[in-house]
Symmetry: C2
Subunit: 194 residues, 2 copies
């Protein structure tokens, strides 16, 4: 059992490596098996199709991206600061990915378009993190009464300019940091109790 | 002089018609001259290149899209209501364009990408309208003290999900109206005096 779990992780790590070095076109089950030095049958045993393999690697990428945000969402910071930290970290990490390695970012963007179900899971998890912060702010009285689900979604949508992969080309613009700060301030003030 | 002004308008109206009926590939100076039944020289006299003609037709399209918003921005409504009306009208009209005639919308989206200077003028004008509403709200005491330029930009950026042409494919989703309302409420509350 442990051996099998390891094997799945190994396959995904190798798939990421193949994606990074050769791009999407070369990331087939056969290519990954070759890079691992195993028969393609032993990869197919875990991932019955190229789509299954790609969906799994997309899920792992998004899960990793979410981990640092989960830590912030679960922290003890007052809700307004926690929300600011969460939104800033979400923008900064995505921006760094897009600007530092645009080719790999584009690869994962294409994977995300192919696997909308995996992206939906990711968005659901992000919204749950935001809702936890909103609920903390409601409990502490920092935030004005509001349905937490609606507020979490509104916050998420209000920062789309700084999160949506289709807008990544704008994140290199000189004024983008100040523009993000402007939206961040507006969003946090929009939640505060009066 | 009047005759010349009329001629420019006629050329642009015909260009819009050619774009609507035949798409971008067929909207050259020659095609437009043919549709007008004039020599291409008489079109070139006003628009020395295809780029000049396309830039002008893009500018006219955006100016028209802005006109209804300008009326709202200059109205006597209390600033919070005026801002809600402005943002709602901006989303509704763009959404209608994208959904009612996706082909024409895509044509103008391509034109906008070709003529970023024209789009920048447009954004500058929209930001000036938003700033006027923010200033009205500051004068009336409805809005909390804030630099109007920064606030206008923050409002504009916070609704990018409902304005950016690259995200148009999401405007047909069933929940989009409720999501817009959520962001609208958050943005307006973010500006209100406490």
């Amino acid at each position: 059992m442990t051996k099998d779990v390891l094997r799945v992780e190994t396959i995904l790590t190798t798939t990421e490596d193949v994606l990074r070095r050769h791009g999407l076109a070369k990331a087939t089950v056969l290519d990954v098996a070759r890079a691992l030095g195993v028969s393609h049958g032993s990869v197919y045993r875990h991932f019955p199709s190229k789509a299954a393999l790609r969906g799994a690697v997309t899920r792992r990428w998004l899960t990793r991206a979410r981990a640092v945000l989960a830590t912030i969402a679960a922290s003890d910071d007052p809700a307004p600061e926690r929300l600011s930290r969460w939104l800033t970290a979400a923008f900064e990490s995505k921006r760094a990915k897009a600007l530092d390695d645009p080719e790999l970012f584009e690869t994962y963007r294409t994977l995300a378009v192919e696997h909308t179900d995996v992206v939906e899971e990711h968005v659901t998890e992000l919204l749950a993190q935001l809702r936890a912060i909103v609920e903390a702010g409601l409990a502490s009285g920092d935030f004005a009464p509001t349905p937490p689900d609606v507020a979490a979604r509104a916050v998420f949508d209000a920062v789309a300019r700084f999160q949506h992969p289709l807008l990544a080309s704008e994140w290199a613009r000189p004024g983008i940091g100040a523009e993000f700060d402007g939206v961040l301030g507006l969003v946090v003030r929009g939640l505060l109790a009066r």
